[in-house]
């Protein structure tokens, strides 16, 4: 397992955000994490990325507890939920990629941009791009440090269908050609069914983790997922 999560629990002022989660991610996995809003997907990612450290349980990346050493976190590239880019922020795409710590190498930047089909726009201002294009830039930014794992938190929210398809195609290529393991949270069950080989279904507790086909062929499981999603939706409103 390249990521091994054991008995992970997170408590926000007495409210359980995650409760006793255990699962692993193997090399080459394309894991789709599904669950309603408030299910704890972002909290799980924050813990995995070392951004949230107040948790019970252990998270190991390449067999090392991330509490003991943050060194292995550099193997994880992160693409946030929605890029919040100030339209007037004076930085070119190339500059945005070079902000990453180990990325002074311009060849690596060009290579990363080519992988997301953005190399021709390298000298454009980041604020001039569409949200979909910005998200591709953020994948390239994550790729600059040659990560072994890519974590994406609902990356296609608010993106048009053309850019969504392009985005998924890029993720598929990164997984199959570059052998990058992908952990991706999404509400889009169709996309998860199409792309992911593994599924983790989360609603504060983990109620499924396994092969994608197994989840999508289990009518009971899908019914349970829709019911909990509806309950969470009603709860939020």
């Amino acid at each position: 397992m390249i990521v091994d999560i054991k008995k992970l629990s997170v408590d926000y002022s007495g409210i359980k955000a995650l409760d006793d989660i255990s699962f692993g991610i193997a090399k080459g996995d394309f894991l789709g994490i599904i669950g309603p809003n408030g299910a704890g997907k972002s909290t799980l990612f924050k813990c995995m990325l070392g951004l949230h450290t107040q948790y019970d349980g252990t998270i190991k990346v390449f067999d090392h507890d991330i509490r003991d050493s943050r060194k292995y976190l550099s193997q994880i590239g992160f693409v946030p939920q929605k890029p919040v880019v100030d339209r007037n922020f004076p930085a070119t795409i190339r500059e945005v990629l070079s902000m990453s710590q180990n990325s002074s190498d311009s060849e690596k930047i060009d290579e990363a941009l080519q992988k997301v089909w953005m190399h021709e726009l390298a000298d454009r201002r980041i604020g001039d791009l569409s949200v979909g294009q910005q998200q591709r830039v953020f994948i390239a930014k994550a790729l600059v440090n040659s990560p072994k794992i890519l974590v994406l938190d609902e990356p296609v929210t608010g993106i048009d269908q053309y850019n969504k398809d392009l985005f998924f195609q890029i993720l598929g290529e990164l997984n199959t050609k570059e052998k990058i393991s992908i952990i991706w949270s999404s509400h889009d069950l169709d996309a998860v069914e199409r792309l992911a080989n593994k599924v983790a279904c989360l609603n504060r507790t983990l109620f499924f983790h396994g092969v994608s086909e197994e989840f999508f062929s289990d009518d009971e499981m899908l019914k349970k997922y829709s019911e909990t999603s509806m309950q969470m939706h009603m709860h939020h409103h």
């Binding site: 990325l49 070392g50 951004l51 943050r70 976190l73 550099s74 992160f78 946030p80 890029p83 919040v84 100030d86 007037n88 922020f89 004076p90 930085a91 070119t92 500059e95 945005v96 070079s98 902000m99 990453s100 710590q101 000298d123 454009r124 201002r125 001039d128 953020f138 930014k141």
Partner: protein, 279 residues
């Protein structure tokens, strides 16, 4: 109240220190402007004024006291802001009012203070002596060196705190470093433009440059050029017409900003910038 114009003898000192201060204010100011913290320089200057008044009150060289007071109060309030989730503009208002209030009380309590001593810090001085010029050059050089080695991390945490944190960048520490550098910059710049006009050097050249350049490096270089032009022109205008130096510098910077707006509004400069197109 007297405002000082530059005399012929004081021009070299004013120019050397003015150019160093302009470059420094542009560099630090760009990060503040991009963090939507444009008035933070103003707030630091006002709290530094409290420190100046305290230094004069107890008879110790006021600029170092001002430096300590500005940095400590800004760092303290930043901690409070993070812990109690207070908005940045409220922190700016608190720093600004408290520093000025403390300064006014200390001035009113002192019988020995000459109003001229205070004016020079409020409105800037046209006469900067050799030891002060050396201090300005050394401090400016030190801050620019720190900035050179940390700018990537500072820029990343300015661009996206969340992503910078996920990449292992100590975002909070970078914020404190920026505040400390801004505090020192404010204190050494007070001598040139004074407490009341200092934010102009932080903000105007950067906002003007952002209208033209599309990359961070070009924005910073252009901003430095605008700031140096405003300072050098301001000093010579002050000498030529025998009017206040600090006001001249700020008005030239404002004129550059208005000129940039007009150039952009009339279509002479597109969003992506004429300079960027040539590059």
């Amino acid at each position: 109240m007297t405002f000082e114009a530059v005399s012929y003898e004081s021009i070299p000192h004013a120019l050397v220190s003015g150019i160093a201060i302009s470059i420094l204010c542009s560099a630090i100011g760009l990060f503040l402007v991009l963090r939507k913290f444009s008035l933070f320089g103003d707030a630091l200057a006002h709290s530094a004024f409290g420190g100046v008044a305290f230094g004069l009150f107890i008879g110790i060289y006021p600029l170092w006291i001002a430096c300590g007071v500005a940095i400590l109060s800004a760092l303290g309030l930043t901690k409070i802001r993070q812990k109690f989730d207070i908005s940045s503009d409220a922190i700016v208002a608190i720093l600004l009012a408290t520093g000025l209030g403390a300064g006014i009380i200390l001035v009113s309590m002192s019988d020995d203070l000459e109003i001229h001593d205070i004016e020079e810090f409020l409105f800037g001085s046209a006469i900067i002596d050799t030891p002060n010029v050396i201090t300005i050059l050394v401090m400016a050089g030190a801050i620019l060196a720190i900035l050179f080695f940390t700018y990537k991390k500072l820029l990343y945490s300015t661009f996206s705190e969340e992503q910078a944190r996920a990449s292992g960048i100590p975002v909070e520490k970078m914020g404190y470093l920026l505040i400390a550098m801004a505090g020192v910059t404010v204190v050494i710049s007070m001598q040139l433009v004074g407490v009341l006009l200092i934010s102009a050097l932080f903000v105007l050249p950067n906002v003007s440059a952002m209208l033209y350049a599309r990359s961070f490096k070009k924005t910073m270089m252009l901003s430095m050029c605008f700031a140096v032009s405003a300072t050098v022109s301001g000093i010579f205008i002050s000498y030529q017409f025998d009017i206040a130096q600090s006001g001249c510098i700020v008005l030239v910077a404002a004129a550059i900003f208005v000129g940039s707006l007009v150039a952009k509004g009339s279509g002479m400069v597109k969003t992506t910038g004429i300079l960027a197109k040539r590059a």
